[in-house]
């Protein structure tokens, strides 16, 4: 029988991996993918707690997190495309100048 703490340790590991990638990688799309990893880790924690307390509120929260993640994906990728159009690169270390 898998206990609640196993799910939470998995969630913490996934979150830590996501944060590591978010801080170190410079490609804007890979950074975005690490954000999605962090959101997924939080989703796992939500559903595990929802199941433990016998409540469906956690699963509804996951539903809304997914909705927000989808909206953020659409807008974030549009911003990346607009950025690429201006500086011809998606590396975050190249986007260092404000408009002069």
């Amino acid at each position: 029988m898998v206990s609640l703490s196993s799910y939470l340790i998995l969630s913490a590991t996934l979150f830590a991996i996501g944060t590591l990638g978010f801080i170190i990688r410079r490609n804007a799309l890979v950074v975005f993918m690490c954000v999605e990893l962090m959101l997924n880790s939080v989703n796992i924690a939500f559903v595990a707690f929802a199941r433990a307390h016998g409540n469906l509120d956690g699963e509804i929260s996951v539903f809304f997190v997914m909705v927000v993640a989808a909206a953020e994906a659409a807008i974030g990728l549009a911003i990346v495309i607009a950025l690429f159009r201006n500086i011809q690169s998606v590396e975050t270390s190249d986007a260092v100048e404000l408009k002069w």
Binding site: L10, T13, R26, G54, A71
Partner: protein
């Protein structure tokens, strides 16, 4: 049941490590798809059927297709490594292990509610629909408006300058 969880957890962690470490962004995206399918499996072990399927439809089926579209349209290749990167990876890995160790001590030493099956709390579509449309109907409508704003916003941002002047 426990076997399924451990296999899926191993799959998720290995592919998440693949996401953050692959040089080619397309390989990262494919590892992320595997991660999402693993997370859908974890939802299924927690008997959240609706969320498991919706995870595949939304994350693996729509968001990652969008990411792959962008990678292919921008024709992105490899990312250059500077010598300082290896130091960051080592420091980061130590930090991650420390974080997981500290938080797992929190979980393991506290009296957490054990996972047990309570009828009526299983995440079937009927149950989630019942809660979603009675208790959270306002948030549901707000989510609809949010998605509409995202659609309009992304079209406006991604349109080329010539297109916007029309």
């Amino acid at each position: 049941m426990a076997i399924a969880f451990y296999i899926l957890a191993l799959l998720i962690i290995v592919s998440a490590l693949g996401v953050i470490s692959m040089k080619n962004p397309i390989h990262s995206a494919m590892c992320l798809i595997v991660t999402f399918l693993g997370v859908a499996g974890i939802f299924a072990t927690l008997e959240a059927h609706f969320l498991a399927t919706v995870q595949i439809i939304i994350y693996a089926g729509a968001i990652m297709v969008l990411v792959m579209f962008v990678i292919m349209l921008l024709n992105l290749k490899y990312e250059a490594n500077t010598t300082l990167d290896y130091l960051f990876w080592i420091i980061g890995a130590v930090g991650c292990i420390a974080f997981v160790a500290i938080t797992s001590q929190l979980f393991l030493n506290s009296m957490l509610v054990p996972l047990d099956y309570q009828a009526g709390s299983v995440g079937t579509v009927a149950n989630i629909g019942r809660v979603l449309f009675t208790k959270y109907v306002f948030a549901f409508e707000a989510a609809g408006i949010l998605i509409m704003a995202a659609i309009v916003g992304s079209i406006v941002v991604a349109k080329s300058v010539k297109g916007r002047e029309e």
